[in-house]
Each structure stands twice: as C-alpha cells, then as structure tokens.
Symmetry: C2
Subunit: 402 residues, 2 copies
C-alpha cells in the first residue's frame, strides 16, 4: 500500500533531524542526519563519474567493507570534492563528531555531500550543527521533513515517498527521500537519496534489491546530461519490524516491487523538479529491435536541448525527436517509426502526418507530457523521464557558484 | 594569404545568387544558387544521423556516382526530410528547374535543404525563385553575399572566408561560406557549407582534402549536442585557375593548409554565432594519454549545459569542467589534472587553488574564452569550439517551428 503522507522515519527505529548550521547563506537547513536505532544493513549505488567526492569515497569504502551502518550525515552546500587530502580528513572529522554525539563508532556514520565542487566543508560550523542535530533527532514526521529540507540544493519541492507491505501479518515499511535537481543523468544514482526500511535484509540481498530497483527508475532520469561527482543512493535496512526478506521467497518479490515503486516515485519527482522545469516529460520507446536500441533512443531524446526547448515552447516539433533518435547510435528503420504526443500521432512511418495543432498544443501545455516513439520492429521497450529546458535553467546555472 | 573581404565567387568561374522566393515569412532571402561555369570536381561530407533528408540523399548519391557538378541549389526553410517519396520528387523537380534555367543536365545540380523537418518544399515558389536566380546569377561580391544570406536560418551573421595561394606563379583561390547555428555537433558536417576553388583537383583527391580539413575544424564544433538530418559540406573545384593540385606535391600541402584555415575560420564563426551565443568558447585538452581521451573530454565539456551556462553567467565554476571530463568516458588521472581559464589557473592536480576571482570574471567576460585542461599524462591534445548557453537559446528553440 502506498502512503499519502511520507517521511524517512516511517519505518520503525529510524530517527532524523535537519538544521541550519550556517553554511547556506539564505538561512535554510543545510545539514541532515538520519540514524537507525540499531545497526542496520546498508547498500549503495554511486556516480559513475571518474571524479568522486571525498565524502562519497569514504562512504563507498565503508559500505563495501562493513555492509552496516548506524547513521548518515548529509550536507547540501559543499560537494567535498577536489579538495585533496583535507577533503578526506574533513569527512572523517565530521563523521567522528556525529558518531560521538549519538554514541557509535565513526565508521558507523556514512557521509554524503552535495553542492559546490572545490569548496571545503565548514567543519566548525558542521560540528556545532551536529550537536544541534543530536539534540533534535526524532522519529517524528516534523524531524524527518527537516532532514529532507536540509538535503535540498536547487530543489523547489521535497521528494519523499513511502510504501507499506504486509509480511506474515506484520507491517513492513519502506521510505525514500531524495534531492535533485541539476547534474542529473544516468547511469548513476544521479542524486542524493536515502531509503530506509524496517525489514531485516542481509547486505548482499539489499545491494541486489537496490540495484534492481534503480535500474529502470532512478537510472532513467535526465535533467541536463551532466552527472555529478557525489551522486549516491544509500538504502538502510534495520530489521526492526522483526520481518526478514530473503531471496527466493514471495516476500522478496513483494518487497522488490514496493521498492521499485519507491524508486519510480523518486525518479518522477526528480525529473518534475529538474532545474527550471515547467513540465515532466516521459519518453517511451516501444517495439524496438533490442533493449540497447530502446535505451539509446530514450537517452538521446531526454538529453536533447532542442527537444526539451521545443516542449518548453509547447511546439509540436516531432522532427527534433526523430532527429535525436537518428543520432542516438541506435539501429532502427526510420520508415517504420511512428511518433505520438500523448495519443496524438504526429509522425507515421518516419514521415509527417497531418495533425490537429490545437490538440498538440493542448497536450504539450499539460504538466506531464508523454512522448511515444514506436519503432515497429521488435518487442523491446524502455522509458525515461526528463523535464523541459527553460529560461530558468539558464538563470539557475549561470550563477550557481556565486 | 588570407583575404579581408571574402565571398563564394572569388575563385575564377563561379557565379552565385540569392533571392527571397516567398518561403520565409519575414521576407529574407531563402533560396541560393552557386554555379561553376564549367563542370567541376565535387566532394561532400554529410551528417552521420540515421535520418537523412531527401535533398541530402540525392546529393550524396550524385556526388558518389559522378564526382562532378555544375551547380548547387540551397533553400533555408524546409529540411526536406521525413516527407516520404514526395520529398525525393520535390528535390528532383527543383534541381531540374535549376538545370533548365542554367542549361545543364539535372544530375549536374546538387541540392541542399535546411530548416524545418516534415515540411514539404514549396516547389512552385521555388520554381519562380529559380527563374529569378537565373536572372541575377553573377560573379559579383554582391551576388555572392546574397547567396550567403539566402542560406541562413537562425544565423545572425554571414560566415564567409577566403584564402589565396600561389602555385607556379599563378593565383589559386579558395572560398567558403556556411550557415549554422543550431543542431550543431560532430562527427558531422554540422551545417550547410559550400567551399569553392578554381584549382584543378580530381574528385578523389578533393574528397581526401575535404575530409582532412574538416576533421579538426568543422568536426570540432558543438552548439547543443544535437545533429541535424541535412548537414552537408560540398567542395567544388573547377580548375579555372589553370593550376592543378596533385597528391604528393608541395602545392598539395600548401593547398591543404589553406583549406584547413578556411575550415577553421568557418568552425569558429559557427560556434561564435551559435544560437543565443554571447561568447565563443575554445576548449583545449593537452597532455592527454591518447587522442581518443583528448577528444572525449573536449566533446564532453563542449556539450555540457552546466559548463556552458556557467560561462554565460561568467562564473568560474571549474568544478563543472572537471566533472564533465570525469563523465566523458576518457581515461585520465584527476590528480594530475590542471585547469585554466585563459592563463589563470583555477585547479591544480584535480584540486581547488586560490585564484583571483576578479581576474577570472574579467577573462570570462570577454567575447572569446579559452578553457585549458592539462591532463599531465601524455602527449596528445585536441581542441573544440562551442558557445555559451543563454536565455536566447531557449527562446529561439522554444518556438522555432511556429
């Protein structure tokens, strides 16, 4: 069952807090902590960028070495990347402070950083903030929403989603929260995301579940084709529901489906709140000759500034969509290709067809626009989410660092 | 010797004309004809897009079959793409009309089309325009500039360049003209370009010269990462200087260098006049471990909306440049990587260095911005040109078709 109200501490045994520790100039929350009351399994997916932030590298090493954690400390001002040895040290120092405050070992605290590259963490400000986080940590909805707000950068809206399933007559809950909203492109986590659950899952199963869940959801989101140096999704399972999710069982399939829904919700929310976005765009490729061809085409269309500005302008310029498919590297027969905006066909067999421009305008003026490309030559399909490209994207990114 | 004044009919034996035949709504010239007074060798490079316009396909076939031509007819309103069999027929009909007017065979007239996809050529309007072109064809500078203006779409400035070399005491001239300025990305011609010369060159040598010339010039331009369905560069050599350029001679090397200069000029002009551009950006990668790595990085940086909006905003956000290098797929060591804006170092060994923000701002506020990425691990280099990403790019492309 999907929940109307969602927050990261809905699963049993999780606490959260978010504070403003003085790093964001506008006084908004900038430091978050999510804690499990007991040691929890953890799995992560990370950016594929060759450049990786220091906080990320530390987290990756700890997840891989231990597969368990107690908490995650996240700041949304500095990416803690390209700093040199000091960057690792700063990540260690702040993790150690969080560990001290909640009474666990430093290696049980994972670190996520997002924001400007090449800017040191403000360790002293963060230390004070961590003390404050320790004081306000709580399982309450309010505390969880504070944590959500504290991980946002250029995001306009919080992104939280939850699902509840029943296992052996007991309730198991999964919650996710994520921030976008620029430098978003697969194959990556493409964001900072935290998923919590009170199911008991060993870390290798958790890793498999997480990878499977992001594959066709969070790894199918593009805002601008750029990929960041600190994209991370961490999933934490603390077992406090008392219910175990084991591979090969019915519960596993049920849990996997619920997790997939969480990941898809987050993916859609990220695309819809992409920097400067006025619309969510879903691009579907159908009847493709192979899985790879379908993926190449959805990626190419979702990355094309010309397709995305046309949708912003509500201009039914299907030629750009066919063009983006054409240079995607995919193998397909243009003469079997149909293109639709919603249910309105605008291209048949690779050629123009007459269509009602008013109806096209109506479809393109909605908040969600579906673009379907049917290749008519196979059984494979894929889909991806993006947003339109607006003046505000340029505005937001012309002065992000300053 | 480079010429201050340039136009496509500078080489001996070329005529040109440009007219408004009623297709562009704003009354600007929309149809151009370039003619050689005698049969000329011709070579072409074309878009790599799987989708290819009908005019382009016809030209490609004729160039490959005959290697000679007498004239090129270019319209800048319809791409004549994705029309079906009618598109081929329209290309034939208009070529036949141009052939009739100048008294040659239809297969001696090549066709280029650029503009909206899925929109039929206005054959009747074009026929009337062709009659007018026939009447105004001339070797004059004025006629040549009219032809240039008639191939422009969203271009703000004409792009013409010429070079004169001496062979055996005789003058040989090369001239080029091109239109941009969106849907620009390699590995393609990325535009409509015509290059004329009065040298005598057989068509296979011409083909080799043209491919070599565009490789590191016109195939190193990106405006938006999109590639069109009608990109074509045609080079025509009519021999009317009486001087032959043969492979393996000193003259060949001299000619090749002059042609390379022409192609580089056009490349820079295209990037500088990219849709919405306020600045020309040159991205250089130096000391790369391989040619491919250097190319992957320049392409990735030139395609990144985040790098391009930062330069528009004159924000010295070098982290985005390193990030784009990081996701390019290239193999390099971030810890040996230095980044410079002009001569100002902003990143050393993959890490932040203190730099003078005012000086950075001054460099980024100029019309030409040089970004240098030194990988410190090899001897290979590459460079590419792009432009910044501005509000106007969004404006121009939000309503191009309407």
């Amino acid at each position: 069952m999907r929940k109307q109200i969602s927050y990261i501490t809905m699963p049993k045994g999780f606490l959260a807090a978010g504070v403003h520790c003085g790093m964001k100039k506008d006084g908004k929350p900038d430091l978050a902590l999510v804690v499990s009351e007991c040691s929890a399994s953890v799995a992560g997916v990370y950016t594929q960028n060759l450049i990786q932030g220091h906080s990320l590298q530390r987290t990756r090493r700890l997840v891989s070495e231990f597969g368990t954690c107690r908490g995650i400390l996240i700041n949304s001002v500095s990416a803690n990347a390209c700093i040199g040895p000091q960057g690792y040290e700063d990540a260690e120092l702040t993790a150690a402070e969080a560990a001290r405050v909640i009474g666990v070992r430093p290696e049980e605290i994972l670190t996520c950083s997002t924001g400007v590259i090449g800017k040191r963490l403000s360790v002293e400000k963060m230390k004070k903030g961590i003390t404050e986080l320790g004081r306000t940590l709580s399982a309450s909805e309010e505390a969880a929403h504070s944590a959500m707000r504290a991980i946002m950068t250029t995001d306009l809206v919080p992104k939280e989603t939850s699902a509840v399933i029943e296992i052996n007559g007991h309730t198991v809950t999964i919650s996710g929260m994520a921030k976008g909203s620029g430098m978003i492109h697969p194959d990556l986590a493409t964001l900072i995301g935290i998923i919590t659950t009170d199911a008991a899952i060993d870390s290798s199963s958790l890793d498999m579940l997480l990878r499977e869940a992001v594959k066709h959801t969070i790894n199918r989101v593009s805002v601008d084709g750029d990929t960041s140096v600190c994209d991370t999704i961490l999933m934490v399972a603390n077992g406090m529901s008392g219910q175990e999710v084991k591979q090969g069982t019915d519960e596993y399939a049920l849990f996997a489906q619920a997790l997939q829904d969480i990941a898809r919700d987050l993916a859609q929310m990220i695309a819809a709140d992409g920097e400067g976005a006025t619309k969510l765009i879903e691009v579907r490729v159908e009847d493709a000759p192979s899985e790879d061809d379908a993926l190449m085409i959805v990626r190419s269309i979702c990355r094309s500034p010309l397709c995305k500005t046309a949708i912003f302008g509500e201009d039914a310029n299907w030629g750009r969509i066919l063009t983006a498919a054409g240079y995607s590297g995919a193998n397909f027969d243009p003469e079997r290709t149909d293109i639709f905006f919603g249910d309105l066909q605008v291209c048949k067999g690779g050629c123009a067809v007459d269509f009602d421009e008013d109806e096209a305008k109506r479809i393109l003026s909605q908040k969600c626009v579906l673009i379907r490309v049917n290749l008519g030559s196979g059984v494979f399909s894929d889909r991806m989410w993006t947003c339109d490209f607006s003046y505000d994207y340029v505005k937001i990114n012309g002065s992000y660092r300053s």
